[in-house]
Amino acid sequence: MGAIHLNGVSKVYEGGVVAVDDVSLEVRDGEFMVLVGPSGCGKSTLLRMIAGLERVSGGQVVIGDTDVTHVAPPDRDIAMVFQNYALYPHKTVRENLAFGLKQRKAPKALIEERVADAARMLGLEEMLQRKPSQLSGGQRQRVAIGRAMVREPSAFLLDEPLSNLDAKLRTTMRGELARLHERLGITTVYVTHDQVEAMTLGTRVAVLRGGVVQQCASPQELYRRPRNLFVAAFIGSPAMNLVEARIEGGCVRFAGLAIPLADGSPLRGAARDVILGVRPAAFTADGPRADEALPRIEVVPDLVEHLGDEVHVSFGLDATPVQGDAVLAAEEDVHATRLLVEDAPRARFVAVLDGRTAPVAKQPMSLRVDNEQLYFFDPASGEALGLAAEPSEQPAAA
């Protein structure tokens, strides 16, 4: 029984910083839940409250069937992996792995067995006698995970466990983590500020901002149906293109362009100001293979980046860019393609095109826009518009 329930959990630090604000979240048994959000949004705090390392200022933490709000961390039957691994530098790998069980006075044979199992599973058998300082970053990471594993807790908590690794190793370890979770099936709460990690690992992903959960859903759902501007801007790389626009007469108009709305859109009849969001992948280069039915726009790319499989084309449009708090907060972490020298406030779009197209900077070209993939947000509240027609969330009970 490793489900975790957070009921209206809050954390107010001394000095009045509200790090976590009334968060209610359910992590189902065996689920891989990712908490993601920009720096300082309260992810670590939330995780540490589940662990019991921070006291809650309000609300309730339930693990399995037990209210553990006032239970000390060692008695919560959870294990945590820290960002800097927190391996005991003066102990060997074997001692590091065994330490938790030893503290719990587990029988020697059991400790031996569990340590051996974990070492085998993580490929650490050769290194059991070494000290952490004699290991590479990836190996340390494995030991940290192994240390959590041997205790066979009812839940794992991981706080940015991959952020100290280089990009390549991170990708490998990501895969290993996913496989490990599949094998062990232990409830996992995973904190990261990297949305790629979040999308690839999570059964479900909770997006946090300012201590508040913005949306908690499967990666697909987050990507396809962001509930608000922040989630839309935060999830996806390159980030969603956002621009102020107006819906009128069945078309969305911006920068002198008019794109007809998709047939089924509930906003067809509306006439109002909106914020328009277009995923970079919603563009395709106009050409013989393009879908003739899609609306077409003419642009002059000012930056073309060939990445092999795909080409990123960025271009300016004569429209006001969206600079609301939500978007700025999200952009902090998203590596949006930007020009060093930015001219007048123009909206900047990025299109991700097929790698076989060969656009050239400063040469006019035409793009097709998939109008099924347009997103609309209320300019004032940032809430997504036109979602109501579709089923709002997956059924809650698993």
Binding site: T66, V68, H70, V71, A72, D75, R76, D77
Partner: protein, 306 residues
Amino acid sequence: MPPHRRLVERVFGETPSAWLYLLPAVVIIVGLAIVPVFWSLLLSFQDKDPIAETTSWAGFDNYRELFHDEKFRGAVEHTITYTALFVPLSILGGLGLALLLNKRVRFIGVYRTLAFVPVIVSATVQGVLFSVIFDDQVGVANGLLDKVGIAPQPFFSDGRQALLLLVLAGLWAGTSCISFCAVIFLAALQDIPRELTEAASIDGARAWGTFKAVTAPALAPVTIFLLLWQTVQGIQLFDLVYGSTAGGPGDATVVVVYFIYRSIRESAYGTGAAASYIVVAGLAAIGLAFWLGRFAVSRRGRGATA
């Protein structure tokens, strides 16, 4: 049901156990540092009759007596003379030595060992050692002078020379000697990134220019610390005197702490306490002057840039 946090812990947090951790430290430090400071003040206003074992309120009598006591005035004078010579000489010597020891030459490790060894010699040993070397009858020092054709000196049997010899002994060994200053300076010198001095010398600065531009500013905080530290050490001088002259000849080398030591031996607690408070007042005045001086310097610095 997993055990819940103990009730005490939930109500008081870690306060009770933290105070258990602190207990030994707090007992010793409060009992033997904080309480005595105030007690001392109280004592300095009291008069104790050692025979009748009665204590009476003396007001400022002890202080007044001290101001007219030739011996105490002498002690203050000797302390000031010692400090005034000892502080600048030890700091300058230490700086010079540290600059030498910072050279990258062969055997520098051996040189450093030789130069640092005096720090660990106790002042008593040093006092004893110097009183033997500078014995006016049979000391090696007079033998040396004799060889160069200088008349034998009275050394420790002459009051003035005895005090100067104490300065020399203090500079040579003990926890505040030249070597001690050199250790501190050298640590600070080695904290200066090499690139900095190299950059300066590439910019065409000569040795003196590099010193002024890079080294001196980096050593400034340490120098201020040493100035304060050495002054305090100078004013607290005791063990050298205890090991060598025991205050003599006459009372020529009685310094303030030695004076207090004698008053304790004579059970004149009031006098001793008053004497120590006078010294502390002196120290406080020096500290204040220091602080004001730094304040003025930093103001002037800001004025110059403005």
